[in-house]
């Protein structure tokens, strides 16, 4: 970091502006001069000042990513793929954890704008008013959760179809009283999964019963409490859980109560997190194509930045989902 463009010029025996010309476009420079300069650059380990370059090109080659919680495997997998793909295109990733908190989300958006990121990819915490902080000319992509307030590019999964496939699977395996265990947060993918659940019931002429929709925080203790209450009050032989962690919390509690799974009660989750594979019994679930969502987000972002596609021409993509059969359904 101590090496300056002057040192390079001196070493190569040329002027500073010649070095600059070689490094920036190579115009009006002979091959011989260019070679001399590049040799000096390598020898001295010179790195062109990217901050200064940022001032000229108005690009920082960094992209902000706002996620609710990086310790959630679902978001971590997205972050990993996005980071890898951006990095392959020479963009760095600024990571922000909003913690589903409106004020934090707002603060992060402002910080990212202050740092002049070239674009922002975000998983909304559902606070649509924060959307107005995004400048119109900044490339923005929302993933997983659809913001209502503003038109943005949106990439997600076929959540409704996933809910439908899960419920249909339970029905076809003999379930007639199916709970839906839902995340308490009314985010768009969870609502879409509920719609899919209703669609499947309708198709099989089964009654939709509001009482069978159970809302819970996605935490073991909450789920346990819910299930302990419900199993006394309601009869059910199947559970469609809106996330794998909800499913696993329910299974753990039901096993302790003496139920056999899948004999007495069948359970299906959503997301196909690593734990659903490691769990005992292995969890039947709906898998999203997380790598593909991440790849597509990154490549769309690079496209928006480099080819100046406008947010007003925003698009939505919904990637296919798939049922993974394991041991919690018959």
């Amino acid at each position: 970091m101590g090496v300056s463009i002057k040192d390079v010029a001196k070493k190569a025996g040329v002027s500073v502006s010649t070095v600059s010309r070689v490094l920036n476009n190579g115009k009006y420079v002979t091959d011989e001069t260019s070679e001399k300069v590049m040799k000096a650059v390598k020898l001295l380990g010179y790195r062109p000042n990217i901050i200064a370059r940022g001032l000229r090109t108005k690009k920082t080659n960094s992209v902000g990513l706002i996620v609710p919680d990086i310790t959630n495997e679902f978001f971590a997998k997205l972050a990993k793929t996005i980071e890898e793909n951006l990095n392959n295109n020479n963009y760095s990733l600024l990571l922000c954890n909003s913690g589903e908190n409106e004020d934090k989300e707002r603060k992060y958006i402002k910080t990212l704008l202050d740092k002049f990121v070239d674009g922002i990819i975000f998983i909304s915490s559902g606070y649509d008013q924060n959307m107005h902080l995004f400048p119109d000319d900044l490339p923005i992509i929302a993933i997983d959760r659809k913001p209502n307030a503003k038109r943005v590019n949106f990439i997600s999964s076929e959540n409704k179809k996933g809910g439908y496939l899960a419920t249909k699977h339970l029905i076809e395996n003999g379930c007639s009283k199916i709970l839906m265990l839902k995340d308490r947060k009314a985010v768009s993918p969870m609502n879409a999964r509920l719609e899919g659940y209703r669609d499947a019931l309708r198709e099989y002429n089964m009654l939709f019963d509001e009482d069978m929709i159970i809302e819970s925080e996605v935490e073991l203790e909450y789920v346990k409490e819910k299930i302990l209450k419900i199993h006394k009050r309601l009869e059910f032989d199947g559970i469609f859980a809106g996330t794998d962690l909800l499913a696993i919390g329910a299974i753990k509690t039901l096993l302790k109560l003496g139920y056999k799974i899948p004999k007495d009660i069948q359970v299906i989750g959503f997301d196909n997190v690593l734990t659903s594979q490691y769990y005992n019994p292995g969890l039947t679930t709906i898998a999203q194509r997380l790598s593909e969502i991440g790849e597509r987000s990154a490549s769309l972002m690079v496209d928006l930045i480099e080819n100046g596609v406008k947010n007003t021409e925003s698009k939505s993509y919904f990637l296919p989902v798939e049922l993974i059969k394991r041991d919690t359904t018959r």
Copy 2:
């Protein structure tokens, strides 16, 4: 982003240099002028150009974090706490996934240096030659895995003590033939846990047997294969697994083989990941103080950056571990 310092000067009816003075130090400016300028700043939504400021102060207020894999809950939790604590001190986090790959790690270090981060926190992939890329005057903190090649600040857990506590717990609960299931990667915390295992055996006058040390990739299929081979060849009534995922992979396989846990075989893990709590049966494990490691890394980094503590005065911190008793040991 379209608002410039010129617009602010015009609006406030003062010169550009007056605006600059108000924003940068407030010297030689009357309260009245200062108020006029700040009113214009707010009205126009002007943001001082942080890139340009970076050129002057040589600070970018960003810190790089290199982790092997952000989808590993252990690293994700560290990343989350580090990011939160840095953010509270107005630093942003550039996230890099090395994938335990030497070339990628090297590329990331170079990128972070190119971006003029104020410091780098990293979990080494074990390639000590990459350490030489770090400039001497850049604040560096290694977490979890101790690099050999160079003196750096190092923050980790009492891994040796953890291995000792885990093994002692198995011995005191009646185990006499204890396997250690170890990550194949020879990273420093895993070796320290093995040392702790040996210490406990020695204390109880039990023989250390090389054959009882089993190495595996931390992946379900690998662990399964290892256990299937071993259970035919070796007798054992306890397993100390170097990570929770190794433990869970072993349990899943042993249950399928018809063993009862903890009746026939007792198992203890390491890390206390979320899955160890959700798992069925709940996994006894050694917990690390991840939040504290993250907090301390962030605050030390801020200290190194802002108070110029040198790497040559590098320090090591080892945070306490704790045994969490659940259902896989008696």
